[in-house]
């Protein structure tokens, strides 16, 4: 039975979903990734995530005090902080994701002019910042062999590093990992971005809750899959090549949690598909012709610039079809 809302206008019935519940969904969806990463790497994961989330929240609160038109939202800050922390290798110093979160909040919510705010994804900006300031730390991945307890607070200096999937593909070599290991996340990569099966399960939850622009994620993945199938960089079975391309450099994680974020993605289904395909194509072009491993973040930032244009085009196209 419904109760009286405080709105003086119809409709007097509203969906239970609120801004809070949307953000809560994202934080809930990130939890399994944190748990899996903690089991695999120890409590350092929790410290990285907590510090990063705290830094984002503190920056928002300070921004509010300084009257910078930022309203602090704990869940939004938590999502951002965790999202950024999970992108880093476990070996990064614990202050790194925290600084990146704070900088991302400052850039997206304070520095960028109003018209550009919706274009850039905040975690992507944080990631970009880390890649440009600490490129070495961001591209050194420790060997993943089942479960290993990393020190919680100390900087990690003595550790066995390994090539990531992207690096193998870049040199046209076949990655040594088994297919099952890749699906289970047992390969060098970000803290919480490697467990492909868990991410796919979370996607199902997101689609059920309608908290994701699934058209973007799906079209991104399909584009990369098609490229992977036909341009086989590692010279392996084309189906293996597809899996390698999708799993390399946090691609699936970015497709679901960053590019698929409904807030930054274009709004119309057609433009979402176009946007996803564009990110996929740009990623693959940058992977083939670029030297940088994390091409997807660049592709995402470039595509973000024209996300508004995608919608504009789709609206005009719709109007044109209707008028005919």
């Amino acid at each position: 039975m419904i109760t009286a809302s405080n709105s003086p206008f119809a409709p007097f019935l509203h969906a239970k979903e609120s801004v809070f519940s949307l953000r809560f969904d994202t934080v809930t969806a990130l939890m399994p990734l944190i748990i899996i990463a903690t089991v695999q790497n120890g409590l350092r994961v929790l410290v990285l995530c907590a510090l990063s989330a705290l830094a984002a929240f503190i920056t928002e609160t300070l921004g509010n005090f300084a009257k910078l038109k930022i309203k602090p939202a704990p869940l939004r800050a938590a999502t951002l902080g965790i999202c950024i922390a999970l992108l880093c290798p476990i070996t990064v110093p614990i202050y790194m994701p925290a600084i990146a979160s704070a900088v991302a909040v400052l850039i997206v919510r304070v520095i960028l002019p109003k018209d550009f705010k919706g274009l850039f994804s905040t975690p992507a900006i944080g990631w970009l910042f880390m890649l440009s300031v600490w490129p070495e730390q961001m591209m050194q991945f420790p060997v993943k062999t089942g479960f290993f307890e990393f020190p919680v607070f100390k900087n990690i200096t003595d550790c066995n590093y390994a090539w990531s999937l992207a690096q193998y593909l870049q040199f046209g070599e076949k990655p040594p990992q088994r297919m099952l290991d890749i699906l289970m996340g047992q390969f060098p990569g970000g803290i919480g971005t490697t467990c492909t099966l868990a991410i796919i399960a979370i996607t199902v939850f997101f689609i059920y809750r309608k908290s994701i622009a699934w058209q973007v994620s799906l079209s991104m993945m399909c584009t990369v899959a098609v490229f992977g199938f036909f341009i086989n960089r590692a010279g392996v079975n084309p189906f293996y090549s597809v899996v390698y391309e999708l799993a390399a450099s946090n691609f699936i994680y970015v497709a679901i949690f960053i590019a698929g974020d409904i807030i930054n993605a274009p709004k119309l289904p057609l433009s979402r598909i176009f946007y996803g395909v564009l990110i996929g194509v740009l990623t693959m072009i940058l992977r083939y012709y670029g030297l940088y491993e994390h091409c997807v973040v660049f592709a995402l930032t470039i595509a973000g610039l024209i996300s508004g244009v995608c919608d504009n085009l789709a609206i005009n196209l719709r109007t044109l079809i209707r008028s005919k």
Binding site: S5, S18, V19, I262
Partner: protein
């Protein structure tokens, strides 16, 4: 046949209500709506005249007659203001005398034209009988267009809103009269018969044998996603059919067979402040507090809504039942909806049944972003508003922007017409003034910039809140 609504919302449905229709006892006074005061309704009786049931009280602009629903004394005409518009109401005092109903309509003229589909005659007949199409809440005569003859008559028994199931209650309780009415309409207009209902509906069993019993009526099912009317209207447009509500067909049946005009309204009274929610068949003009009393309303409620939960409006217990009152909803316990800024989630775009872009319309209203956004097709369903996680009153904002735009376009057209005629006069006089064109351009630019920024006026909302909150019914 199955009409599937892809967009829209599946509203919660709670059918914990008795489907039988109750007849409330007569209120001491009835307030019969005569429409806008500016339309100058013609009162055909003098003050303190005794009226018998179905005596004419007034004649409206579109030749619709208004009848006395009971034996009453005509007291006076009262004016009430809604949304800055003055409306007239005939105040009738009930005198509790019974008299047999009698024919006021000329049926003989109609019978001869039964199959001729003489739209003009039938329009006049429906206007005289004051029949209301409860599907669109318009007078039936206004739904019929001589220039657009229809081939099918679609009886709408689908219900898509929480408790807005008076259509089902009507067909369940007055099945014979409604189906007879459908038959009469089909014969009068030489049209085929169709009936629309919601699939998986609780009353599915009732319609189970419908196909066998009524082979000449085509059954159309919908999935009940709100707003069903959007899909139905599209279907009606495509198939050239008129959609009628069951109460309207019942009224047609009674008008044709017994010469009775329509003076009643079937409505649902419900809400968590109502102890006995019910379907009521009550005379038009009955004060709402009388119905609340009949259904055992709680004395304190936060909100009293007239019309549907998605599109209705706040009302007062003293307001009378009009042709728009599909339901009366009394709600207690205030839920604090926290309104926030738009978070760009795009959910409003996914849900719009007319495939509009409320998110971009909002940007247009606030003077940000796109300038070419279609908002004129908005059907005011409120789906975008329902789903918005930031609880932005999108329906209200779009509606107001649309109306402002309409009035402005009208004013602009008027201005340009005036200017055109002035220019022509000047031309005739041999004067060519180029400045006129400049003026026109600057004027247009000014008017556009004025409309670009619209925000909900705080005064308006706070005024509404204070006056409407915490009402006490006169029960």
């Amino acid at each position: 046949m199955f009409l599937k609504t892809k967009h829209g919302v599946m509203l919660p449905k709670d059918y914990n209500i008795d489907f039988s229709v109750a007849f409330p006892n007569l209120s001491e006074k009835l307030y019969i709506s005569l429409g806008k005061k500016s339309n100058n309704p013609k009162i055909t009786v003098t003050k303190n005249t005794s009226l018998k049931k179905y005596d004419k009280i007034a004649e409206l602009k579109n030749n619709v007659f208004i009848y006395s629903p009971e034996n009453c004394v005509f007291e006076d005409v009262k004016t009430l203001t809604y949304k800055n518009e003055e409306y007239s109401f005939a105040v009738l005092k009930n005198i509790f005398k019974k008299s047999p109903s009698f024919s006021v309509l000329n049926l003989n003229a109609l019978n001869q034209k039964e199959n001729a589909a003489n739209y003009g005659t039938l329009k006049t007949f429906f206007a005289e009988a004051s029949i209301i199409n409860d599907y669109s809440n318009k007078y039936l005569c206004d739904c019929i267009d001589e220039n657009k003859p229809f081939k099918k008559i679609l009886l709408n028994c689908s219900c898509d809103q929480l408790y807005d199931i008076s259509a089902v209650a009507a067909i369940l309780n007055f099945e014979t009269e409604v189906l007879e009415g459908l038959d009469i309409m089909a014969r009068l207009f030489n049209a085929s018969k169709e009936i629309c209902l919601v699939k998986n509906y609780k009353t599915k069993s009732v319609f189970k044998n419908f196909k066998k019993e009524h082979k000449d009526i085509k059954l159309i099912k919908t999935n009940g996603k709100y707003p069903v009317s959007c899909k139905l209207n599209e279907y009606a447009e495509k198939e050239n059919c008129i959609i009628l509500g069951p109460e309207c067909l019942k009224a047609v049946y009674r008008a044709v067979n017994f010469g009775e005009p329509q003076t009643t309204k079937l409505l649902t009274v419900w809400g968590n402040a109502i102890y006995n929610p019910a379907f009521l068949l009550c005379p038009l003009g009955t004060p709402i507090y009388h119905l609340l009393n009949f259904c055992n309303s709680q004395k304190q409620f936060e909100k009293l809504i007239s019309g549907n939960i998605m599109t209705g409006f706040l009302t007062e217990p003293e307001d009378p039942v009009t042709i728009y009152t599909n339901s009366v909803i009394a709600l207690k316990e205030k839920e604090n909806i926290i309104k926030r800024e738009c978070i760009n989630c795009g959910k409003c775009l996914d849900i719009c049944p007319k495939s509009l872009t409320p998110f971009y319309i909002l940007k247009l209203i606030n003077g940000e972003g796109l300038t070419k956004v279609n908002f004129k097709n908005c059907i005011n369903c409120g789906c975008c508003d329902y789903i918005c996680p930031a609880k932005i009153p999108l329906r209200f904002l779009i509606n107001r922007y649309n109306q402002n735009n309409k009035t402005e376009i009208k004013a602009e057209n008027k201005n340009s017409k005036n200017k055109k005629s002035k220019n022509e006069n000047a031309k005739n006089d041999g004067i060519k003034d180029k400045n006129n064109i400049k003026d026109k351009n600057t004027e247009n630019a000014n008017s556009k910039s004025e409309t670009s920024k619209i925000e909900i006026s705080k005064n308006e909302t706070s005024k509404n809140k204070t006056s409407k909150n915490k009402k006490e019914a006169n029960v």
